[in-house]
Amino acid sequence: MAHTDVVVTGLGATTPLGGDVASTWDAMLSGRSGVSALTQEWAEQLPVRIAAQLAVDPTGLLDRVKLRRLDRSEAIAIIAAQQAWADAGLADSGLDPDRLGVSVGSGIGGALTLLSQDDILEASGPRRVSPHTIPMLMPNGPAAWVGLELGARAGVHSVASACATGAEAIALGMDMIRAGRADVVVAGGTEAVIHSLPIAGFSSMRAMSTRNDEPERASRPWDKGRDGFVLGEGAGVLVLERADHATARGARVYARLAGAGITSDGYDIVQPHPEGAGAIRAIAKAIADADVAKRDIVHVNAHATSTPVGDLAEIKALHQALGDHPVLTATKSMSGHLLGAAGALESIATILAIRDGVVPPTINLDDPDDGLDLDVAANKARHMEIPAALNNSFGFGGHNVALVFTRA
């Protein structure tokens, strides 16, 4: 079935690697790690004392009074969306707000606000709890704020599918345009939960790397020495646009969002299916939806979080659903795992890989796992023509999302 063409006309991000897309992409291509030691007092007792913290703190970038009303995840979503909006050249384009939608999700939501206001509640009583608490911690807060900033009136949506959130939000944005509900959708993900409780929770699951003495070497997808993911924070936002709308206004087009595949495992609340069955179906659906030949999908930005089980399940899924020809990378080796923003940041990396003809490296891949039998751009960037590429995202709850981007 022929779909309405959807293209990407704007990108925005603030990440552990840089305060915008250009600096983040430069850092990726040069193989720099964004992971560092947590020196805050609250981290002293934690089993995990490393994280990928934002390169540029949002505090100086937004109005002080406004920041009092924003959770950190909301503030960085706004910053990334403003960048993407400006990048797309939509600021003074006269776009009808009734045709502008937003699809921005978060994996965990306003946990920093929940924790800090609970401290106030315990210490000073209920009257001292901020009246801004609820809009700061509600899971739709980032999407709502982005919608408010841009004046979007075609619907504001907030997907929540854990670590697949960013990718699913982008898929939903594409669906909105295909269904004719919007001409432009600002889509992506945001996450800011670097604090003791989220770290303790993930750590109790034994999901996180405890390589505290070597922060920059802790995130090592597919390496034999991997021992879990490294928590990161950040936001990534794409401007999705109906292709003929973009053409009519002479917009610069980064890439085409050709298709998406979304499935659920129906297997376990946190463990991925050992054979990657849900992932296989998601990738196959995305390829079918995109209507591109498998041989043209020569690059995969993998979900690969650096956990022992998940990294290899994805390899099996790629073999089955796509084949043995693509060149893989795991940019989480540099950015850490941005949870609900991961799929958005990695979509941006996938799009720029297509544009620039270069696969960013997977760093720390010193001793590849025996189960890794696909080609990876290990430790240095690889230049190659990329007509089409795949971005995978999987999340606790058994969510699988695959996105296919093609050259504009």
Binding site: D63, R64, V65, R68, R69, R127, R128, S130, P131, H132
Partner: protein, 79 residues
């Protein structure tokens, strides 16, 4: 505390909570119409004023505090 001192104290709170320019704060100014303080920020102003001036401002009283002067009079009477 003089009325001017209370006004100055309120101006500090309004600047911190709602970004109001202290030079704009005067007894005749309406919180909502002149100083653009919305309902949630007003809650923050009230709680901060209670702490700063050592008074209690019950919720049913807040609706009567339309202007800075109303608040100054209420705080003056309580303290």
């Amino acid at each position: 505390m003089t009325r001017d001192e209370i006004t100055a104290g309120l101006a500090e709170i309004l600047e911190e909570v709602a970004g109001v320019n202290p030079d704009d704060v005067a007894e005749g100014k309406s919180f909502t119409d002149d100083l653009d303080v919305d309902s949630l920020s007003m809650v923050e102003v009230v709680v901060a004023a209670e702490e700063k001036f050592g008074v209690k401002i019950p919720d049913n009283e807040v609706q009567n505090l339309k202007t800075v002067g109303d608040a100054v009079s209420y705080i003056e009477a309580q303290s």
